[in-house]
């Protein structure tokens, strides 16, 4: 295809070229440095697909096997690269199939642009074939959305879409384009969006607040940092580490904060939350200063708010003003990008250590190790545990892999035990808890980090929700490593049924197919492990493979994940068994 430059040369006006709306969309994507998109064609988006065909040398389209898969793949790509993920679908059912991915990206602040085809302008509102009000449907689950009905709107709206998706607190944007706008020709020119007048993406941190925070931190006896996704999104990993080391403050991550710091950093005390580590949870109620950085006090983190960190002064570093005082009242709130805020804070922070306080975390860890971790990682019983599989992956990958997880027991175990040495290495559906997320997200993650090992750890339930994406892996030879931890149950729901519903296992027992045969049906090399003696070699073989690889591990059917804060209980009431 002709490049824009060549086309411009043929026109009289330097900046304008006359092209169709569909072609304009391709040029917009190229101008935003997009060279990989995920999607599924259909009637109302065919003009764009026709252009994708012509531009396939510069814009690679990956055909997923379901539109939901396209969104999760785009999310996986976005999470591993920090760039905007792009998914494309047709109108009607194609568009509605994007909704779960949009909601997931919205709650986990993932930059994504979704493009949907729509029936022609003159048929809008007529209940035309494959017409659906995707703007109405997607409004609550998008950061912004817009319906384009004229080709001339395309450049400005596309530029705005990318700007909004990636700036401030990132999120998903959906652009719906009527078919007539795809066909129409117009004079195209593109410039990136640099501001939207009603939108203030990144507030400037106020010096008075920074000073107030520094004073509280410098005078703290038992300070404690809890950090989240905002550190990764704000590229503040270095600043976080400097703060932790300079002030000697124990730091815990939320599920989306995983990998923002090395797992083995001496001051990294583990994960907060319902199935987080023991110390990070109980000691929340013993610290005198709680420094929250780029996290939003989700209910799975805080447990009962009435008894969450009431004794502590709370300092909240946050980019989104709507998160301030939403769940936990901040004594000092610092609005802004985490990196910028911490850069201002660091010179004011005095060198310090809090060894006695840090030792409390170590003590808690020892207690947790004895009652939970030891049995998870080095079990003495016959059945395999999920924990020992994760530990084998750590060993075989030297803690360098990108770990993509789904939702449920395997997710909690993976997030507890997977080790990280590099940021953006933990990709999971944290806020929405989307079963079926991991397999397609791993495709996007691998394509975004071809030089890295990407291991999808999935339960037998979630695997079957987007199992068709095995075909995408096969067709694209995407060398993801898929580990299904098969316990024959919807494990987390079963655990709750055991603990809180007197063991009535309503619809949580799964009669599963032969997953190895299914994977082999997709021409993916596959192995099943049922005994401990075969685990290490199987994981090693998987990690050594240059191809996609499927590994099913039969694990104990009725193991529970501990520690656990029962729903609605206080972080202090975390149970070790």
């Amino acid at each position: 295809m002709q490049t824009l430059k060549e086309k411009k040369a043929k026109t009289h006006n330097e900046n304008l070229i006359r092209i169709s709306g569909a072609e304009a969309i391709i040029h917009c994507l190229l101008a935003e440095d997009v060279n990989l998109i995920y999607g599924y064609p259909g009637g109302a988006i065919m003009p764009v697909y026709d252009e994708l065909y012509k531009f396939q040398d510069r814009l690679h389209h990956v055909l997923t096997r379901h539109e939901q898969g396209a969104t999760h793949a785009a999310q996986g790509f976005a999470r591993v690269t920090g760039k905007v993920g792009v998914a494309i679908a047709t109108s009607g059912p194609g568009a509605t199939n994007l909704v779960t991915g949009l909601a997931d990206a919205q709650i986990d602040s993932t930059p994504m642009v979704c493009i949907t085809g729509q029936v022609p302008r003159h048929l809008l509102g007529s209940d035309a074939f494959q017409e659906t009000d995707i703007i109405g449907i997607s409004t609550p689950v998008t950061k912004w959305n817009y319906q384009i009905t004229k080709a001339s709107e395309i450049p400005e709206i596309m530029a705005k879409a990318f700007y909004i998706a990636k700036s401030g607190r990132p999120g998903p944007v959906l652009i719906d384009i009527t078919k007539n706008a795809q066909f129409e020709e117009f004079d195209f020119s593109y410039s990136r969006c640099i501001a939207v007048r009603s939108y203030k993406p990144s507030p400037k941190p106020e010096i008075a607040q920074i000073e107030a925070a520094a004073e509280i931190i410098n005078n703290a006896k038992r300070p404690y940092i809890v950090f989240g996704h905002g550190v990764i999104l704000g590229k503040a990993e270095g600043q976080l580490r400097t703060l932790v080391e300079k002030a000697g403050i124990p730091a815990a991550w939320t599920i989306l904060g995983l990998s923002a710091m090395d797992t083995d950093h001496p001051l990294n005390v583990g994960m907060v939350g319902m199935h987080g580590n023991y110390g990070p949870n109980v000691l929340t109620n013993e610290c005198d200063v709680l420094v929250a950085i780029g996290m939003r006090f989700d209910d799975r983190v805080t447990g009962n708010l009435e008894s969450y960190a009431k004794q502590a002064k709370v300092i909240h570093f946050e980019i989104d003003p709507a998160e301030i005082d939403k769940n936990v009242k901040a004594d000092v709130a610092i609005l802004g990008n985490a990196k910028e805020s911490l850069d201002l804070l660091l010179p004011l922070i005095k060198e310090n250590n809090h060894d006695a306080w840090h030792n409390k975390f170590k003590k808690c860890y020892e207690e947790e190790y004895e009652s939970v971790i030891k049995n998870d990682l080095y079990p003495t019983k016959d059945g395999l545990t999920m924990g020992e599989v994760i530990e084998e992956i750590n060993l075989a990958s030297e803690n360098k892999a990108v770990i993509v997880t789904d939702v449920g027991q395997h997710q909690m175990i993976a997030c507890r035990y997977a080790k990280f040495k590099q940021t953006k290495s933990n990709i999971t559906s944290g806020g929405l808890g989307t079963m079926g997320f991991a397999l397609p997200a791993a495709i996007g993650a691998k394509m975004g980090a071809m030089d890295r090992e990407v291991v999808a750890v999935i339960g037998d339930g979630g695997f079957q929700m987007t199992i068709q994406e095995l075909a995408t892996i096969f067709q694209n030879k995407t060398a993801v490593k898929i580990v299904v931890l098969n316990n024959g149950h919807l494990g987390m729901v079963r655990q709750w049924q055991e603990l809180f519903f007197e063991g009535r296992y309503a619809s949580t027992v799964m009669t599963n197919p032969d997953f190895v045969k299914i994977a082999e049906g997709y021409r993916i090399e596959a192995k099943r492990v049922e005994e401990r003696k075969d685990l290490k070699s199987a994981v090693q073989a998987m990690m050594a493979s240059k191809e996609p690889f499927f590994l099913e591990v039969s694990v104990e059917n009725e193991d529970n994940v501990f520690p656990m804060i029962p729903s609605g209980a206080s972080v202090s009431d975390i149970r070790l068994k």
């Binding site: 409004t139 817009y146 319906q147 501001a195 009603s198 003003p321 939403k326």
Partner: protein, 175 residues
């Protein structure tokens, strides 16, 4: 925390779909919109939503933060009744013969400080502007005689203190 009446004022771009986005914020929290008015504002090309809710101040503050987060919202504020001058408007359509048959009607009209907007052989239309309870009182007085049609608008509000929106808008025009 005690529930009160709050008036939320939203200054925004005038875009299709924004009403849906804003109303969704209330829907998601199961909070009923008691009154809604959309109009142009004192600033050119800037729309103003006036939304009345009955809830706690804490919820109101959080809702305003969520509204302000929407891309096309320029700024949102909330105020209590004491902090605002507010009114609603109502139209009453009444059969014309009642003017002659029921002398009390004339008294209601003059007593309520309403205006006759139009008169025809069949009906006349009364316009009343005031607080919700004044309109309700007038409605109660007229109802026994028969009201052919009745409609009341959403609340419109101006604040007693300065609305700190102008500097924000000026900033737009400068940049």
């Amino acid at each position: 925390m005690e529930k009160k009446w709050f008036t939320i004022s939203v200054y925004s771009e005038n875009n299709v779909g924004l009403l849906n986005r804003i109303s969704g914020i209330f829907l998601k929290r199961h909070i009923n919109i008691e009154s809604l008015n959309v109009s142009k504002s004192e600033i050119e090309h800037v729309s103003k939503f006036t939304i009345v809710i009955n809830t706690t101040e804490d919820w109101t503050r959080k809702i305003v933060a969520q509204i302000e987060k929407q891309i096309e919202v320029i700024k949102a504020f909330y105020h209590t009744d004491e902090e605002t001058i507010y009114q609603e408007s109502a139209l009453f359509k009444i059969a014309s013969h009642l003017l002659f048959d029921e002398p009390q009607i004339q008294n209601i009209i003059s007593g309520s400080k309403s205006k006759i907007v139009t008169v025809s052989r069949e009906y006349f239309v009364l316009a009343k502007t005031g607080r919700r309870h004044e309109i309700d009182e007038m409605h109660d007085q007229l109802e026994p005689y028969g009201i052919m049609q009745f409609v009341r608008s959403g609340r419109i509000t101006v604040t007693k203190s300065t609305m700190p929106i102008t500097p924000i808008i000026n900033e737009f025009h400068q940049s």
